[in-house]
Symmetry: C2
DNA sequence: AAGAAATCTTGACCCAGATCAAGCGGTGAA
DNA sequence: TTCACCGCTTGATCTGGGTCAAGATTTCTT
């Protein structure tokens, strides 16, 4: 089994300080020596594959997980075997923050495409943050950012129609890929139409029709999982609700 | 102006250690001496009235706010002057956590009924948490809980129909009031039908019709803002989707 | 390489809930 | 006390997008 050797070499090479994601991830804004302290508690496993679970709903909460490469979806069970996709997670994004409070995972996380994942035992991280103020601050920011994102999603599900939702989804992906040094205009989807629809509160058929329509309208080129965005400004205009959302009136005090 | 005196007497009496909410709020699980340290940084203003703003979207983030008595709504602007109600906040609940990351409030908070509010300057709280591990832990828990709640709301907006949404809303209020020592079955709504609809992603008319229907079905008694829940089990059954939600199928790996 | 099983697309139809419209209290200002 | 306004209810109608159905592709098995 020479594989053990390969893995251990790998885990040296991929230390946080060498990671291209460090500006997006937990180490953001940390001093070099503090990054090394963080590095000491991070566990890096061999790559996981499509369909593998990072954790399941009901599992005891032990660690946070950070996507290093690849992508992951999180989802919660709804009634009677259905599920609600809660998010798609790209490199640098943290998974599991919602479980700190209850100490049990309320959602499951499943690998979408072959991925490398960093595991961060939470108890050790918490100790570390008590001694590194900038890391504590970073944790507050990450938790807060997660709340903001959920808030954006509430607005999307509460007020936007189908085409606004899909446009918002595409632009969100585009921007997040761009921050990671990838093309914002040309990318592959790692999730199915079904999963996109589930995430956006739409039926698969609606997603499919919208892809077709957006393509007809020259907003994008779709070939199976391969997406090319041709008209960002038009997509942005759609999200802003140029095509009208619901409930434009205020509530008086 | 003898009012100054009254206020300052008041602010002694209402210290966290005497507050009936301390088991729900930030002081939860803290040692007595640590509660006092927390107390030192909490500011208590005179009561605010319906329509007053705690903060507005775009304001610089300085403090977290905790409802002591009364209730508050938070809402984000959607496109073209509309708004999305993000939450209704009862005594013991913390407002403003979503602004830590960006350092600017992305939503507004407005008083629904005469309320007493505790203000906690965040910079000072952050210093304190770095020195009180149990307070740091409590902060992580509170942030995490906020994420879980948003997640529940995503499921509600993504998968539940109108009656499931309203039933879930009523039960959530009922449970939260119960935890605060109030009746879970008999209470007054501090928000309008319009605000409820906005929050749940429904039109006012739908909310109104559902109140009427729930009453006809013997689930509750409605008199204007006065609510009496008559059949909790039936409401719970509704939320669980006995009347069927959407998308019960799984997505294969 | 052939068959089986998903995934995706497209068309036809339908319905939950939005929108439009009208009327009814309740509440507050003068 | 009256009037005006706002919040709420109820009815009538409309529609975005869900559901059902049928193929077309693609991808997994063996």
């Amino acid at each position: 089994m020479s594989q053990r050797t390969v893995i251990s070499l790998e885990s040296i090479r991929v230390a946080c300080k060498n990671c291209t994601l460090s500006s997006l991830c937990l180490p953001m804004g940390l001093a070099q020596e503090d990054v090394e302290r963080l590095d000491d508690i991070v566990k890096r496993a061999r790559p996981l594959h499509r369909g593998d679970f990072l954790f399941r709903e009901g599992d005891k909460f032990r660690s946070l997980y950070v996507v290093k490469t690849g992508s992951v979806k999180t989802f919660a069970p709804s009634q009677e075997g259905g599920e609600q996709v809660l998010g798609f997670h790209l490199p640098g994004e943290i998974i599991g923050l919602d479980a700190i409070d209850k100490d049990v995972h309320a959602c499951s996380a499943r690998i979408l495409e072959t991925s490398a994942i960093c595991e961060i035992p939470f108890a050790r991280l918490e100790d570390l943050t008590a001694n590194i103020p900038s890391l504590q601050h970073q944790m507050y920011r990450l938790l807060s950012k997660e709340i903001s994102q959920d808030t954006d999603m509430l607005l999307l599900l509460g007020k936007k129609n189908a085409e606004e939702r899909l446009a918002a989804f595409l632009l969100s992906l585009s921007q997040r890929l761009h921050k990671r040094g990838l093309s914002p205009l040309d990318f592959y989807l790692s999730m199915s139409r079904h999963e996109i629809g589930n995430y956006l509160g739409l039926a698969v058929e609606t997603v499919s029709r919208l892809f077709t329509r957006f393509q007809e309208d020259g907003l994008m080129q779709v070939d199976r999982k391969h997406i090319q965005l041709l008209d960002l400004p038009a997509l942005e205009a759609l999200v802003k609700g140029v095509g009208q959302g619901r409930d434009k009136q205020q509530q008086p005090g």
